[in-house]
Amino acid sequence: MLLFVLRRILLGLLIVLLAVTTLYCLVQAAPGNPIDILLGPRGSPAMKAALEARLGLDQPLPVQIVKFFGSLLEGDLGLDIKTKRPVAELVLERLPKTIALLAASLLFASALGIPLGCFAATHRDSIADRIVGVASVSVISIPPLIIAIYGLLLFAAWLKWLPAVGAGDRGDLADQIYHLVLPTLAVALNWIGYVARLVRASMLEILNEDYIRNARAFGLGEGRVVFRYALRIAVAPTVTVLGIGVGYMLGSAIFAEIVFARPGIGKLIYDALLVRNYPVIMGSVLASTVILVVATTVSDILNALIDPRIRQGQEA
């Protein structure tokens, strides 16, 4: 098990390394170069050369990449162009807000999706199963941006049940959770449907397996069969999908943070984008990539804990 965990962590590091290098090269290869964007149309060639030298962009690409990783290891992501604050500080300040939103969404999606899928599978072809089916397909496809905006209008502007903007008072946990409800809904709604369908499909497959028939033949109660034997295995693909899904949730979180003016990473990227604050954009995208890779790695390790077969190296 320890070996498996170590291998997964190494693979995760390799992917971060590759992803960051690719992104760095892409940014350099793109036609609009960051220097021109930073300086705007009025930048003189001398200013350009000076800024290039300051940012180390006049050196060959491999040297740049090595230097970039070097400063990365020291926790240096460069300086914010507007406020001259270190980007790393900005990112770390915003990160908890986004992670809280992602965690709440994961929790919400599984807390609703898994029971719904399990219920639909055990009541196959009933009216309730059909309703869960149609409802999950419908919520899967609605863009999170629309859910955020409609949610804002309905629950915050018209009904006034929930707060519209911000992340709540610092130190007041209840207020923070209160402010988390609508953004979580916007990020998680798609995933409730997705998880419900996934759990239903894998439950149906597993309930047909021999060992479930055996368990029933031994006279075990239906509740025990469903929860102890079937659901445990049926949840495994959901954990994988949610691990990969964190990336998409991060994309949705950007919209939720913009619409509800929640000061997280997404809002940081968006605000930086409006003024073309390139170091901040790169820093936040880097942070998002790390969140993503950590999430996939954790979900793989969780999966190995749930289903011992995966540990035996079948995951490659």
Partner: protein, 266 residues
Amino acid sequence: MGLLGLVIVTALAASALLANVIAPYDPSAIDIPNRFSPPSAEHPLGTDQLGRDVFSRTLYGGRIALLVALVSTGSAAAIGLVIGLLAAYGPRVVDNAIVLVLDTMRCYPTIIFALAVGPLFGAGLGTVIAIIVVTTTPYYGRIVRTQALALKRSEFILSAESSGASRSRIVFLHLLPNILGPVLILASMDIPIVIAAEASLSFLGVGVKPPTPSWGIILDEGYRSVQHTSWLVVAAGIPLVLATLGFTFLGEALRDTFDPKLARRF
């Protein structure tokens, strides 16, 4: 559900194609005195901050949405098909390299990737399509590779090989028809996601540029003036919800009809 999807999709496609006939107004005709007017007989969805007719703009927006969806899904599927077949039938080194690149590319979710790269290329229709193609191609490449590898060992391919068929004959005559099905189904299920992505990117300002009437732009303008009126943003969301629902229902029905085995994999 499939029928409902078909009806919605047909209606959307027809209204987008015939936008110049159906639309009661020019989508960019500015009429400041009548700005923010509520829905009425003259303006079924009201007017925006410049007095432009929202209904007409939504109809023209459908053209952009469908154009982006068809072009980018088509290109991603075609590129993925070639890459996937290359990986499955090329030398081992090529296969390993392709898988590594595809898996790295899958690391970036569309929106995050777009935010990092979009501003460098400048907003515009081409950028949106390029971003969507880059982020969705890996999925096609992966599925084509898996399918091709599985089929490579199947008996009908082995028999074609043993009777001396050339490699190109096997790939084009025997392999391709069997791979095209899953790819087309994946593409049909991808369309609603792409439509949502185009609107989302345009909303963020890295997609289609105003004053082009894209659903994302209308939504963005509606959101900016949400303090004046809220129905503008409500109206802009309706076609987007309808389009994604319609295409999803249709894609699901297609998948269930033509490839029930695939249902378990997604």
